[in-house]
């Protein structure tokens, strides 16, 4: 079946350090992945996406890595800032359609000063 899971429910990092949030998925038919950031009381905010024909994609201070062999996805945040504190969700769907997103359970990132 389809499932998306996260290794760490809470990640605490110091300001300025790099953060790595991990996600595992089980359905090999998944070919499009998104990372969302959710702050308290708000909706999921799109961060970055990656398609299955790519291994890596970079944005502003964020990098997503995809390892299809082990069905693993990660989000790297460089120079983590207090404003990065939030819950991060990975989600996947099948590319090429407007089909539903399946979300992981979320990782809470806590940035300490």
């Amino acid at each position: 079946g389809e499932s998306v899971g996260l290794h760490l429910p809470t990640l605490s990092v110091q300001e300025g350090d790099n953060s790595i949030i991990n996600c595992a998925y089980s359905n090999s038919a998944s070919d499009y992945f998104i990372w969302y950031k959710q702050e308290s009381g708000k909706g999921p905010q799109f961060i970055i996406d990656i398609r299955s024909n790519m291994d890596k994609r970079q944005g502003q201070r964020v990098t997503v890595l995809l390892n299809k062999t082990v069905k693993h996805l990660s989000l790297q945040i460089a120079a983590t800032q207090p404003g990065d504190s939030a819950v991060y969700f990975c989600a996947f769907k099948r590319a090429g359609t407007a089909s539903k997103l399946t979300f992981g359970t979320g990782t809470r990132l806590q940035v300490t000063l």
Partner: protein, 114 residues
């Protein structure tokens, strides 16, 4: 990417009452979605809506739920007879302007059923 707006931001209702949650897209898109998030849990898909028809729905989306675009603009989610377990955040989402892949979420409506 401009997101969608949702009203109300918070709705309190008694068990058994009907509620209508509204989503207003900023621009004209074809694909819309409703998701919900029970407090402390992950986001769950409810239904997708394409070209004024339901294209996919989850097991959660039973006969108590319905969606429509009554005036061609607003996108609504109706729960006919609310239950305590319907208490959650309800998010409307739309696809991006560059294609049908990424989805952008609204701020959500917090539904509290008492």
């Amino acid at each position: 990417e401009p997101e969608v707006t949702q009203t109300p931001s918070h709705q309190v209702t008694q068990m058994g009452q009907e509620v209508i949650l509204r989503c207003v897209p900023i621009s004209n898109h074809l694909y819309f979605y409703w998701y919900r998030q029970i407090l402390g849990q992950k986001v769950e898909f409810l239904v997708s809506f394409y070209n004024n028809e339901i294209s996919e729905k989850s097991e959660i989306f039973d006969d108590q739920f319905s969606v429509e675009r009554p005036d061609g603009s607003n996108f609504t989610l109706k729960i006919r007879s609310t239950k305590l377990e319907d208490s959650a955040m309800y998010f409307c989402a739309r696809t991006g302007t560059s294609g049908a892949y990424e989805q952008y979420f609204g701020p959500g409506t917090r539904l509290t059923v008492t």
